[in-house]
Amino acid sequence: MSIMTAYAQAEAVRAGRAQPIASVRHAHLSTRPLVFIPLKMAGEAAAPLGAMVGTHRDDPHLLVVPQPRDRSLRFAFVTELAEVMVPYIESFQRASETVGTREPYERFLDAPQILVPNRGGIGFTRLLGRSSRFRSADGPYPVHPSVPVLGRWLTFLAERTEFAGASTLLAMTELLALHWATGQSGTEDGALAALLAWIAPPEGMTALEAAARAENPLLTPPAGPATDPGFDAGVLQPGIEAYDSTGSPAQVRGAIKSQLEPTWQLMWEAVDVLRGLPEGASVADRWARDRDDFSRYTAHLATGGAPQPRLDSAVAAAMRLERLEDAQARYDAQRAFDDPLVLAEYRLTGTTFAGRVIAADPTRIVTGRRRVLRPLITVQTSDPVRLAPGQVLRSPARPGQKAEITELAAGRIVLELSGGMGNSLTPRPGSVPEIGEWLTYTDLEVPSPRKRPPFPSRENTPWTHGGPPPEYIPTDEDAQEAWS
């Protein structure tokens, strides 16, 4: 939360409508996303009640667990879910490209993208993955072979959400809130219907009216995974009792469908709203990382890879942390470079400024060991700059060019430029800013792909970190873990 967003919220209150806080879309949006809306039984950690899932708005699959306390019905649900999800995921494993210059590797051209309504949907995905990835197709409590496969994929997707800018599994409320500020609090924004009410209220309704409607569980069922307590007592419980006595799931099925259908429509509406935004320039770069990870995990599974451990070992945890930090730095910088509205936040902190070029010496040559082109420009700004001479800045208009501050006084900043001007001693036309040009300079830098810091191998885990961890060998106990 920044003051920019907070102010946009105040404007949204006055305007009675959500205000944009981004001018481009900062996440990849697949041409064929899979929408997944899970429901769980209240009071249980991960007892599925039902789900609506599918890649086409006119063709949702409805999955229902008529007696959520029945273990075999739960696995039947996971099996049924796997029938939809695993083929969807595997459909992206057909076409690949060879990338990487030094160590070439195969990367799939596309990757799956699963959209859930909210953060709770991601949490449920994680738990469903956790409760099914260790299962086994043989042994005393065999499950369908697709169950542990789906469990591994769900875990993969849920873990991937921790990386800033990853788009293989997204919570719709968070995705929308990244691009719009509403006139309500984050608590209310956590409900998909109420959030969409501010962004795209139905014809003839104000955002507040639409949000009030969205908060009435009788008119708008919650987007899950928790269901409305009134629905549980009044509709679901009698339905489950009817199933117990007659064996017919029809009543529960109807009940679950009624709770899921409105959210299903909202999810696709939200997809439409997001498609209306142009994609940010570096979204493709981040999606390539998603594709990288997807390709890597596909290879891991193809070689009979073990399920993800319950807890990371010391070395794995350190490596994950390093990757998380790298992803965060990349995401922050890329987003600012892609979007002036995001960059504006940094202008407030004084690490970024915008101004007009008032003087330029585009052909300045500096003679050191050899003669090099080092143009100077002077930018006039009224921003509250907190930078110092010697700092190296970049402008989103010319990201390949470095600009070092040489002088800084009274709103006039002199910058020495290097790079991005061609190889001769005269700059390529347009590569040096001209007098009168309006520019933004920032100290943000997109981290260049770097070598991983040297982490010890698993066998060389230092004693300070518990020494080498035992090798994970799947046990029958894991496979038979009670799910009650």
């Binding site: 946009a8 209240a42 738990l127 956790r130 608590t187 908060e215 419980q237 807890l311 509205l341």
Partner: protein, 367 residues
Amino acid sequence: MSRLDTLRGPVPPHDHNARTIAALAANPGCNRRAVMDAAGIDKEKTARHLGHPATVGQSVFAIIRANAFEEQVKANGCAQLLKLLREKLDLSLPEVSYDDVNNVGDDRGLRHSRTRTLLRQAAEDRGGGTLFDHPVLKLNIAGKSVYLEPALIAFQLKGRFHVVEIKSFAVIDGQADPGQVAAAARQSAVYVHALRELFAERNLDPALVSHDVILVCPENFANTPTATLVDVRQQLTVLKRQLSRLTRIDTILDELPMGLTFDLMHDQDGTPTRSRDELLKAISEVDARYAPECLASCEMAFFCRDEARACGSTDALGRTVRDQLGGLESVATVLGLAHGTLLAAPDQAEIASQLRLVRQFRLEATA
């Protein structure tokens, strides 16, 4: 008739429980909640009559599950619980006796005195371990005694007492939902506090009651319980501060007009007959401190939110937003300062210049 009785009207006061007391501590700045709770007013009915019914509530399935798990842990003289205390918390327990306070019957006063007797004996004896089930504790809320019937067991070992809280949310691979753990800790703090009060009253050392609460939850996806020690010192501090504020409720009441009442004026069938406008006016006499967090814990939340929105308060946007906006109270002030149509007061100079920049940068970025 005390002023609180006048406020409530001729209906019996609404009972407190650990959940409501913990919720009090969650928003210490709200005079409205403090007054309504001190007077024992039924907030749920009040909100409904005002046309803003609450959605605070638990699912039947959650309640069934919670009861079943608690029953299971406590079955056969707490067999599962004892096993846990030995194995998970490494307590070398000798013979353990189990006392069910419910044995003396349903009367709360009687059960409370039985609780006191048992705890005193245990505190002085310092012998083997003892478990107490269904104790009844008493707490002074705003000068009024309130009975608490925790579904908990006070566990005594070597003269130290622990509160055992049984919750049915799962701990999966050593991790539980932080929100639920925090709520459990706040509730347990109420019990620890009440137990300590009881000890102090009987000239026993309150420090005999440990600030480490034993939280019992199902492990992973099974029904097998697991136990964790939770330090509730921080929650205790917050609770104590809020309760001491409540005892000074007189200072809030002194500010209110004489004869002010929130009486719903029920007819014989229990239907409220009080005019809605009149009630609304009466309630508005006591200031609320609305925050979006109230939506999950207070029955009046929708009413207060409506009120906050109607006067364009930044509270309705949440505390972080308000803090980001320099604590400015109203949306109109925020926009006025940003647009330069409002002259900044001396203490607003800094935030005003920030807001003007924000507006300028937003305009430039969207141009």
